[in-house]
């Protein structure tokens, strides 16, 4: 087998601790405890190994990365490794002083999540009263610290109708970029799918809103927006393809081809405390299993798009079909594609109650 191309991005999930309880959290349903977290020195070694491999961009995420008191030290390790560091935060626990310390340590960029354009609904979705107001204060502190800001709005049936308000909020807060991210349905979000899936009419209205805003705000605000899988005909090249450009490392040190990959059965994901990142990238079985096209079944195997979408998302394929190697049902050629339409129909008549994210809930649902 030929050597894979070097990885471009590293997602460092520093902790699973988080003050928010979003019902679509991308963390695994089985959350890690604080006592299992990698220390800052180990993260520093992982960052240096990543840079040597070819990684340029580092995403510091969680959970809430600011739950780590040693976050400035971790950011300093990223800067000395020469990685572009992006802090992905809920913003509810970081004050101006801690933010200045992060900027001084070499932080390059802040991505702030918001749950809605209206405080009442945002606080209900995030499961934290007063959270939205604290996010707005935090965004102003980011501006004052001279750091670039991206607003990340996770959208779904219960907030998509206020997308225009989210765009206005991004402008008001001085964000250079707005990421409109549709919920992806595995883990916590799959449990809450009936309460979150948007209707086709909602989605079409949102797409029109984005198209109009992009034109109007050209040169002022960049809007990233991707049509969600449940209303798509083609699957996404999840993570740019398994083991092709991206490595995630969990709080406890497991290296993953995708941050949700621990939802897949039958894997022994390598531990960064036991193996170098170079070995993990080139040699480990986990990173090779779905790399390239050799593993593909039909209809992927004979498909002209196979080196564009790489068979789609493994987590979604497993969640919906029970087979980790199946074609992603988001693809119109998948024999399971009808499951997505059925889910949209079910959601259209379902309620709005959430199962919130919490520690130790893995067996409760």
């Amino acid at each position: 087998m030929t050597a894979p191309p070097p990885p471009l991005g590293l997602l460092a999930e520093l902790t699973h601790r988080c003050p928010l309880r979003c019902p679509y959290c991308s963390n695994p349903v089985e959350l890690s405890r604080a006592s299992a977290e990698l220390d800052a020195a180990t993260w520093g070694r992982v960052f240096r190994e990543a840079a040597a491999l070819g990684v340029l961009q580092l995403h510091l995420s969680g959970g809430e990365p600011a739950a780590r008191r040693d976050l400035p030290e971790i950011v300093a390790h990223a800067a000395s490794a020469g990685l572009y560091s992006n802090l992905i935060t809920s913003g509810v626990t970081l004050d101006a002083e801690r933010l200045r310390a992060l900027a001084a340590a070499g932080l390059d960029h802040v991505q702030l999540s918001v749950q809605d354009a209206e405080a009442g609904s945002a606080d209900r979705i995030g499961g934290l009263r007063g959270g939205h107001a604290r996010k707005l204060d935090f965004a102003r502190a980011v501006e004052a610290a001279g750091l670039p800001l991206t607003l990340n709005a996770v959208v779904h049936r219960q907030n998509l109708d206020r997308l225009g308000g989210l765009i206005d909020l991004a402008l008001e807060l001085g964000a250079g970029r707005l990421e409109v991210a549709h919920v992806q349905y595995y883990g916590w979000a799959l449990r809450n799918r009936d309460a979150l899936l948007p209707s086709r009419a909602q989605l079409d209205a949102a797409t029109r809103t984005v198209t109009e805003a992009r034109e109007r705000l050209r040169g002022r605000l960049v809007i990233d927006y991707v049509v969600p899988d449940y209303h798509a005909k083609r699957p996404k090249a999840c993570m740019g393809g398994w083991g092709r450009s991206f490595i995630a490392v969990s709080p406890a040190g497991r290296a993953l081809p995708c941050h949700a990959a621990e939802s897949l059965p039958g894997f022994d994901f390598p531990d960064v405390r036991e193996h170098s990142l170079a070995w993990i990238w080139t040699e480990s079985e986990a990173f090779q299993r779905f790399r390239g096209t050799g593993w593909m079944p039909e209809p992927c195997r004979g498909c002209e798009h196979k080196e564009r979408d790489w068979g789609g998302c493994r987590c979604q394929a497993f969640a919906l079909t029970g087979d980790t190697a199946a074609t992603d049902p988001a693809c119109a050629h998948s024999p399971h594609h009808h499951l997505l339409d059925l889910a949209v129909q079910d959601a259209a008549v379902a309620g709005v109650e959430f199962t919130y994210r919490e520690m130790g809930a893995a067996t409760a649902g």
Binding site: G54, D108, H109, L147, T150, G176, R177, D224
Partner: protein, 91 residues
Amino acid sequence: MTLSPASVPRFARGMRLREDPARGRWVVVGPERLFVPDEIALEVLRLLDGARGVDAIVDDLAARYHAPREAIAADVLALLDDLQAKGVVTA
């Protein structure tokens, strides 16, 4: 915000031009974005210092490549306009 010959373009906040030694190229890195400039774009980006205006950039390139100034000016403005729309450059 249309760019003109008098504009002074600079990198947008958070955008950085850097070498990518693992792949033998230069790239602009930003928040969850990566741009790989072609040879001409790289020449223009290397001249962005927050002080030099579009006119001065065009002068520099026209002199170095012995090319007609009008053609260079049109190319540079189109390039910078595109980079501004992508959030790489601001003026």
